[in-house]
Amino acid sequence: MASPSGPLLQAEHVIKYFPIKRGIVIQREVARVHAVDDVSLEVQRGETLGLVGESGCGKSTLGRSFVRLFPLTGGRIFFDGQDISTLSRRGMRPLRRELQIIFQDPYASLNPRKRVGQIVGAPLAIHGIGDRRERKRQVQELLEKVGLSPEHYNRYPHEFSGGQRQRIGVARALALRPKLVIADEPVSALDVSIQAQVINLLADLQEDFELTYVFIAHDLGVVRHVSDRIAVMYLGKIVELSPAEELYERPIMPYTEALLSAVPIPDPRESAARERIVLEGDVPSPINPPSGCRFHPRCRYATEVCTQLEPPLVDYGNGHLAACHHPLNVDKETLARATVDQRRTPAKADESAKPTQPAQQAR
């Protein structure tokens, strides 16, 4: 199992279903939302792992399950070699110092009735670090680090702009000097110009504090800029996991290809020359996900096998994994050398169903 020298965070077959309940006093479960369905991945020390996918694909749920904001339905999560998946809230407390989260909405994530000093100092107070004076000093230092003024200590969140508020959220997450920070769409609520500022801030802080990030976003442009590796999620599953540049140059999963073709290109001529793949239909309901490969109803390469067998995660070398029966950008030799990744393949997927043919012409 993972040792302290292994990956900082390791997720094994993590499952999170949200029950849909009916009834007034006696509630029974009528259905469940398959938010995260058997996801295995690891986060190496010092890296930034990008987590992308459409809205509702479970990327935020996965990120939140890493900090154990709720109990898991199944699977295990190891942080620094320690199994945290079944720890109680009390048991999690000491680990909170090393594992923090930055929230998406800078308006909802700061208590409107508390001063900035109280908000950023709360983690210090909870973990009993320093006396009042010492905490104030540390908070003011943090405020300076994230590009705010120490004099903002006594102000209230409503007196700040969105970007400044997100800086407060960053300062709060860093107050305990964590090792791992889950950034749950930290910039999606901000203006583009402010987005760049906050991303650069996060990058600077990563160096200063030797942080490891899990960076959740739905904007591939943003993720490309910050990530070392990228995991692409679709309907609760990891469909492709790859070093960042390789993913952009050589997407294997058709869903990734479609996502990349939607990234805006600033040059209009280049933009016009590119083939845009428009996915048909909506994301299927995660309450009742499609059989086989979950992407098959929208995939232009899909064949019979995609509707029946769930594809295993196949390792195409160089740490590039994809779950697809009809891989793109793969030649015959690579395909022959590729092996099924037993450890990270979901339990329900068919491990013998390694693809034999590259993708045929699109429908």
């Binding site: 900090v67 409107p112 006594n154």
Partner: protein, 351 residues
Amino acid sequence: MAVFEPEAEGIVFDAEETGGDIVGRSPWALAGRRLVRNKLALAALALFVLIVAVSFAAPLYSNYVADTDPFASNISGTVTLNGKTEPVLQQGGGKLGLGETPIGPTWHSKYFLGADNQGRDVAARVLYGGRASLEIGIGSALLASAIALVFALVAGFFGGWTDAIISRVMDLIWAFPLYLLAISLATVLLTAPNGLKIGFIHLSAGSLWVPLLIIGLVYVPYIYRPIRGQVLSLREKEFVEAGIAQGASNFRLIFNEVLPNVASTVIVLMPLMIATTILTESALSYLSIGVQPPQASWGTIIEDGQSLLYTRPWVAIAPGIMIVLTVLALNVLGDGLRDALDPRSKVRVKG
């Protein structure tokens, strides 16, 4: 002398332009500013404070000004009017000339609002009655809010079974017609021969605590409902999740994150609640199941005045006016507080 006053000229400086203090203005301070700008609400507050002040000064009035005991019957008492000594209760009087008629309002004696049918000074009794009514009204509103707040925080925060059980109990109380519940509680409590004993607490039947507790209890669900709803939505807010992610205990989440956000709702409800409880107290006392004689409250004085309505209407009108003024002031104040504390309120804050 013509002094240029920008505010008087209708020119208002924005807080940002004039350069604010580096200490942020808390939402409370902003609300205070908005309240101060609301002249009507301030007037209502002043009126309420005045009523409270004079009511609590009742002993001063009866001891030093009127020099009477407002609780002792004074059937054979006399009063000096225009140099003549006259009985407080006069035989005959009125159109029919039957029974006894107390003296009416007069500027020339200590019986400023006249006397009631036991010869007691109505003015002093209205003041004492106001003290009792306000004590019960404010006390029961505070009691109801405190109980409701605790239950609402617990039910809304923990949800599930805790919420289901607490909310059903509240529904149970709410299902009773309010006055019927209060009347039946009062009947039981007031007829207990030696008063009420709960552990160390001993209440005699005539104690003001009895109506206070009854009224406080029956209004709990009315405050519980809106606050629970608010807690329920606050609990799902990201800043509560942030607290969990930092390792905060439930206790800390409830008191540090949720409570400050429902406090304004409680504050807005408070004056409206006091107005309602004062009305309820008066109604119960009027029905003789609230404040017990010889104690007075506005409700009991109205009841006393009922039989004198044709001859000495002021006995009933005076406490009635006091009730109307108090309730009106509290309602206007409550509206003002809501405007001041509601972040979506349309009142603009100017520096």
